[in-house]
C-alpha cells in the first residue's frame, strides 16, 4: 500500500519501505542526506473530525537541511506542518495516528503523553501572513525569551542577536520601541522569523512565508533561510516551485493527503519517478 512512496535511497529500489536514513544516496560530493535524521514521520494519519486529511505519511527530515513541501491547494501541506508543533491540539475534534519521532531524543511529538508546550518550545513556526503582536519590535522578539525565563541584559543581547540573525537589525536598531505594525510586510515577516529564532529552536516550520510578500522581500527571506539552515532544520511549505528549487535540499510532493514522492530537490524536479509529480511540476495541474 506504500508503493506510491519513493524515498531517496536509489540503491535499494526494490524495498520502497526502507527508511531513508542512509547516506548511500547518489551524488559524489557530500550528499544532503549525509546528515542524521532530525524527524521521522511514521504511518502518520490525521483527521479533522471524521475527515481524514493525511494518509499514511512516511518520511524522514534531515538535520540542518531545508525540506520543501509542495502540492496543489488542499492536499494537506499545512496540516502536515502543523502536526509538528501540535497546533491541531488547539481545536477540538482533531486526531493524530502514528508517530513523529523528534531526534536526538526520539520523543514521539504526537503521542498524547508528550507535552505540546515542550514541542512548541523546541520547534518554532512562521506563518503565512505576518502576525506580529501589537507590541513593540523589542517585545515581539522578547516574548518567547521571557517565557523561558530570560531577563535583564541577557534578554537585550538575545533580542539583538535574533534580529541580526533575521537580517532585521540594521533596519530596526534605533526603533526597538516602535510598534511592530509600523514595519513593512516583509520586515514584519522577518520580525516573525526573529521571534521564532530568538529561542534557538531545533526546527522551524515555515508555512508559505512569502506568499504575502513582494519579490524583493521574498528574496530576502529566501536568503535568510539559506543562511539559517546551518543552525536549524527547516520545513517549508510553498506554492512556488522555483522557490522550492532555490531554497530546499529535499522536496516532498503531496497530493490529496498522500506523500506521493520525496527526494532530493534537484532530482525531484529534474527526474521525478512518479507521473503525478511530473504532471504537477510541469504545470499540467494544480
Amino acid at each position: 500500500m506504500n508503493s506510491h512512496l519513493n524515498q531517496p535511497n536509489a540503491l535499494s529500489p526494490v524495498e520502497p519501505l526502507t527508511l531513508p536514513r542512509v547516506s548511500s544516496t547518489v551524488s559524489a560530493e557530500a550528499p544532503p542526506s549525509a546528515n542524521p535524521p532530525k524527524a521521522e514521520v511514521r504511518a502518520l494519519n490525521f483527521f479533522y473530525g471524521p475527515k481524514q486529511v493525511l494518509k499514511n505519511i512516511n518520511v524522514t527530515f534531515f538535520q540542518h537541511r531545508v525540506t520543501a513541501l509542495i502540492g496543489p491547494s488542499g492536499c494537506g501541506k499545512t496540516t502536515l506542518l502543523r502536526c509538528f508543533n501540535r497546533m491541531h491540539d488547539l481545536y477540538p475534534g482533531n486526531r493524530y495516528e502514528g508517530q513523529i519521532m523528534l531526534h536526538p531524543d526520539g520523543v514521539n511529538i504526537i503521542h498524547p503523553q508528550t507535552d505540546p508546550v515542550e514541542m512548541r518550545m523546541r520547534i518554532g513556526m512562521v506563518f503565512q501572513k505576518p502576525n506580529p503582536y501589537p507590541k513593540s519590535i523589542f517585545e515581539n522578539v522578547a516574548f518567547g525569551l521571557r517565557l523561558r525565563g530570560v531577563r535583564g541584559s541577557e534578554l537585550q543581547g538575545r533580542v539583538e542577536q535574533a534580529l541580526r540573525n533575521a537580517a532585521l537589525w540594521d533596519e530596526t536598531a534605533d526603533r526597538q520601541r516602535d510598534l511592530a505594525f509600523s514595519l513593512s510586510g516583509g520586515q514584519q515577516q522577518r520580525l516573525c522569523i526573529a521571534r521564532a529564532l530568538a529561542t534557538d529552536p531545533e526546527m522551524i516550520l515555515f508555512d508559505e512565508p512569502t506568499s504575502a510578500l513582494d519579490p524583493v522581500a521574498t528574496a530576502k527571506i529566501e536568503d535568510l533561510i539559506a543562511e539559517l539552515k546551518h543552525r536549524v532544520t527547516i520545513l517549508i511549505v510553498t506554492h512556488n516551485m522555483q522557490q522550492a528549487a532555490r531554497v530546499s535540499d529535499f522536496t516532498g510532493f503531496m497530493f490529496l493527503g498522500d506523500l506521493v514522492e520525496f527526494d532530493q530537490t534537484q532530482r525531484l524536479f529534474t527526474n521525478p519517478s512518479q507521473k503525478l509529480t511530473n504532471d504537477y511540476i510541469t504545470g499540467r495541474f494544480g
Binding site: 508543533n85 477540538p92 506563518f127 503582536y133 516574548f143 518567547g144 510598534l179 505594525f181 521571534r195
Partner: protein
C-alpha cells in the same frame, strides 16, 4: 418600459428620502437630550454650588445638599466595580478562551443574553431574598453594591467576550506556537489587547448602574439620611476598616426621587440640580469610554 434614467432618478429619490428620515431621527434624539439638559439646567443650575455638594439633606430646601447621596453612590459603585469587574472579565475569558462548545455552554450563553434583559427590579427582589434575608448583609452598601454588580455582570461578560473575539486567531496561534500556555496567552496577549474594549464595557455598565433606583429601593435603601458611612481609614491602628460596607446609605437617584415626591416647589429645584449632577457624571463616563475606544482603535488595528 421605463427608461434607465427614470429608474436611476427614482432610486436617487429614495436615497434622498432616507437621508432626510435619518437626519430627522438623529436630530430628534439630540434635541430631546438637549431639551432635557436645558430644562434641568434652568431649574437646577441655580442650586448648584459648593454647599449643595457638602451638605446633608435638610427640612429647609435651600440648606439641603447631596453629600450623603453622592458619597453613597461612590461607595456603592466601588463595591459594584470591584466585584463585577473581576467576576465578569473572568467569566468572559473562561467562556471565550477555555470552555469547549457544548450544550452546557450554549445554555449559559443564552442565559447571559437573557439576563441582560431582565427588569432591574427583579434583581432587587432576588437580592432582598438572598443578600438581605439569607446572608444577613443588611440594607447596606455591600448589599447594594452586590445587587448592582449582578445587574451589570452580563454587560461586562458580553463586552469582554466581544473584545476577545475581535482579536484575530493568528495572534493566539503565534503565542501558542511559541510555547505559551493558555494562561500566558491570555495574560500577556489577549487581556492587554482587549483592555480597551473591556474598559469601555465596564464604564458603560457602571454608568448604567449609577442611575439604577428600583433595585436599591427594593433592598431597602434609605431615602433620607444625614450621616456618612464610617471612614475607611483611621488615624490609629489598624488604620483601615471595612465597616463602611455595612453602613446604611442612599444614592443620588433615590435622593432625587425623594425630593421630587415632596409638595414644596423648592425641593423640586434640588431634584433638578441632583439630576444635573447625575447626568453630567454619566455623560462624562460615556465620554471617557468613547475617548478610550478611539485611542485604542488608533493604536491596535488588526
Amino acid at each position: 418600459m421605463t427608461s434607465l434614467t427614470t429608474i436611476i432618478r427614482r432610486s436617487r429619490l429614495r436615497d434622498q428620502m432616507f437621508i432626510i428620515v435619518g437626519v430627522l431621527a438623529t436630530l430628534l434624539g439630540m434635541i430631546t437630550l438637549l431639551a432635557l439638559l436645558l430644562d434641568l439646567s434652568r431649574d437646577g443650575f441655580g442650586r448648584l454650588h459648593w454647599g449643595f455638594l457638602t451638605s446633608f439633606p435638610s427640612r429647609h430646601p435651600e440648606k439641603a445638599g447631596i453629600l450623603s447621596a453622592w458619597v453613597g453612590t461612590l461607595c456603592v459603585m466601588v463595591v459594584t466595580a470591584s466585584t463585577a469587574v473581576p467576576l465578569g472579565v473572568a467569566a468572559g475569558i473562561y467562556l471565550e478562551e477555555y470552555a469547549r462548545r457544548s450544550w452546557f455552554t450554549e445554555i449559559i450563553e443564552i442565559n447571559i443574553a437573557n439576563l441582560a434583559g431582565v427588569p432591574s427590579i427583579i434583581y432587587g427582589l432576588m437580592a432582598l431574598g438572598l443578600f438581605v434575608y439569607q446572608f444577613n448583609l443588611g440594607h447596606s452598601i455591600q448589599t447594594a453594591g452586590l445587587t448592582l454588580a449582578i445587574l451589570i455582570l452580563p454587560i461586562i461578560i458580553v463586552a469582554t467576550r466581544e473584545a476577545l473575539r475581535a482579536i484575530p486567531q493568528e495572534i493566539r496561534e503565534a503565542a501558542y506556537a511559541q510555547g505559551a500556555t493558555r494562561w500566558q496567552t491570555v495574560w500577556f496577549h489577549l487581556l492587554p489587547y482587549s483592555m480597551g474594549g473591556i474598559a469601555t464595557g465596564v464604564i458603560i455598565a457602571l454608568s448604567r448602574a449609577i442611575g439604577e433606583t428600583a433595585p436599591l429601593i427594593t433592598i431597602g435603601a434609605l431615602t433620607y439620611i444625614a450621616f456618612l458611612p464610617p471612614s475607611p481609614v483611621h488615624p490609629e491602628s489598624p488604620y483601615n476598616s471595612m465597616s463602611w460596607l455595612r453602613s446604611e446609605f442612599t444614592v443620588l437617584p433615590i435622593q432625587m426621587f425623594n425630593w421630587v415626591s415632596r409638595p414644596q416647589k423648592e425641593f423640586h429645584l434640588n431634584a433638578a440640580a441632583t439630576g444635573l449632577v447625575l447626568l453630567v457624571v454619566t455623560l462624562s463616563l460615556n465620554a471617557v469610554a468613547i475617548v478610550l475606544r478611539y485611542r485604542i482603535r488608533r493604536r491596535i488595528k488588526w
